[in-house]
């Protein structure tokens, strides 16, 4: 039986990355924009990158659970559309901090708020231009061993502990010391 805690996909240049590419620690997160646990983890994870900018980087991939969170898939597409205009992380943060308002009108308002070309945003969302990206992330999540949202991998090992700064830092230390 396979060890389900080992990330099997590679991080690539196409991934959304917060922090420096040469960071020795990569935290890969599979998230759902309508999931409150992901919203709660956001400041913690971003805080870790801010605290250890030379060591830790955060990579975000989409894993919307539409069954539970019907707005999540389109929100993911909105983040990709923002990313195509160079503003992924701004949209990511806006979506998580406005999690209760994820109707299309809201997504459009956020696009305007963060300074996107809204007409282009509209066209691309209507055409579901970025749906393949979201689906590709979802498939990679299945292969990597997503077991809920957020699912976190620290240098390729799934982290199932508390979504708290101290606990995650301890796990980061273990992984970098080769004990993970």
């Amino acid at each position: 039986m396979l060890d389900d805690r080992i990330q099997r996909s590679q991080i690539s240049e196409d991934d959304w990355c917060l922090g420096v590419p040469q960071a020795s620690v990569t935290i890969l997160e599979y998230g759902d924009f309508e999931c409150p646990y992901c919203a709660a983890a956001r400041p913690i994870l971003e805080g870790l990158v801010e605290e250890e900018p030379d060591t830790i980087r955060l990579v975000y991939r989409h894993f919307p659970i539409a069954t539970t969170h019907p707005h999540a898939p389109l929100a993911a597409e909105a983040a990709e559309a923002a990313g195509a205009q160079g503003r992924f992380w701004d949209m990511h943060d806006t979506l998580f901090t406005h999690q209760r308002a994820l109707e299309y009108e809201d997504l459009r308002a956020y696009a305007a708020m963060i300074g996107l070309d809204v007409a282009r945003f509209d066209r691309e969302i209507m055409a579901h231009l970025y749906l393949p990206e979201v689906k590709a992330d979802f498939r990679r999540g299945i292969t990597d061993g997503v077991n809920g949202t957020p699912t976190l991998f620290i240098n390729g090992h799934r982290y199932d502990g508390p979504r708290e700064r101290t606990a995650i830092l301890a796990a980061v230390s273990e992984v970098t010391a080769g004990r993970g």
């Binding site: 039986m1 389900d4 099997r8 659970i65 539970t68 299945i142 061993g145 077991n147 809920g148 199932d160």
Partner: protein, 165 residues
């Protein structure tokens, strides 16, 4: 430690009520692959719990000609209400009375708290148990890769149907 069924033995048949109190037998699924998913309890506070992840990927599971049966010691009324809340459309079976009897037979009953372990049993179309997984920590859900890797091994997926405009 309760003994567990071993792979390549006939899966133990059982009859348990579903959320509508309709008896469901494992042998009803002869001819289909079955993922038998034991879990400790309904009403997990986590919104994206194991069963909602399974529900989200159910179409993909069906491509392996497989069905999922969830089993916990909760009563059938609990299953009915929780399945509705979570939009779970595969059967949730009630191992309530005799308490945890099916979990016991599968070697996954927890004497310490009267629930079942979080476990997956993979049963093929002939009713043979082909593989199993039991969580080291019942609070940690299995990665979806466990389910799909195992199904790919025992029941490779049919190619996706072409979609016509």
């Amino acid at each position: 430690m309760a003994s567990r069924p071993q792979p390549d033995t006939p899966a133990i048949d059982f009859a348990l009520p579903d959320g509508e109190a309709t008896p469901v037998k494992l042998s009803d699924y002869h001819g289909k692959n079955v993922v038998l998913a034991f879990y400790p309890a309904d009403w997990s506070p986590v919104c994206t719990n194991e069963l909602s992840l399974i529900q989200e990927t159910l179409d993909e599971i069906h491509r392996h000609d497989a069905e999922v049966l969830g089993v916990s010691v909760d009563g059938h009324w609990s299953h009915r209400a929780w399945a509705r809340q979570q939009h779970i459309r595969f059967p949730l079976l009630s191992d309530f009375w005799p308490h945890g009897e099916v979990a016991r037979r599968y070697g996954v009953f927890r004497d310490q708290d009267g629930t079942s372990e979080r476990a997956l049993f993979f049963i093929d179309k002939s009713g043979t148990l082909r593989d199993l997984w039991v969580a080291e920590d019942p609070d940690i859900a299995p990665g979806l890769n466990l389910i799909f890797d195992t199904l790919e091994r025992i029941a490779p997926a049919a190619p996706e149907e072409a979609h016509h405009a």
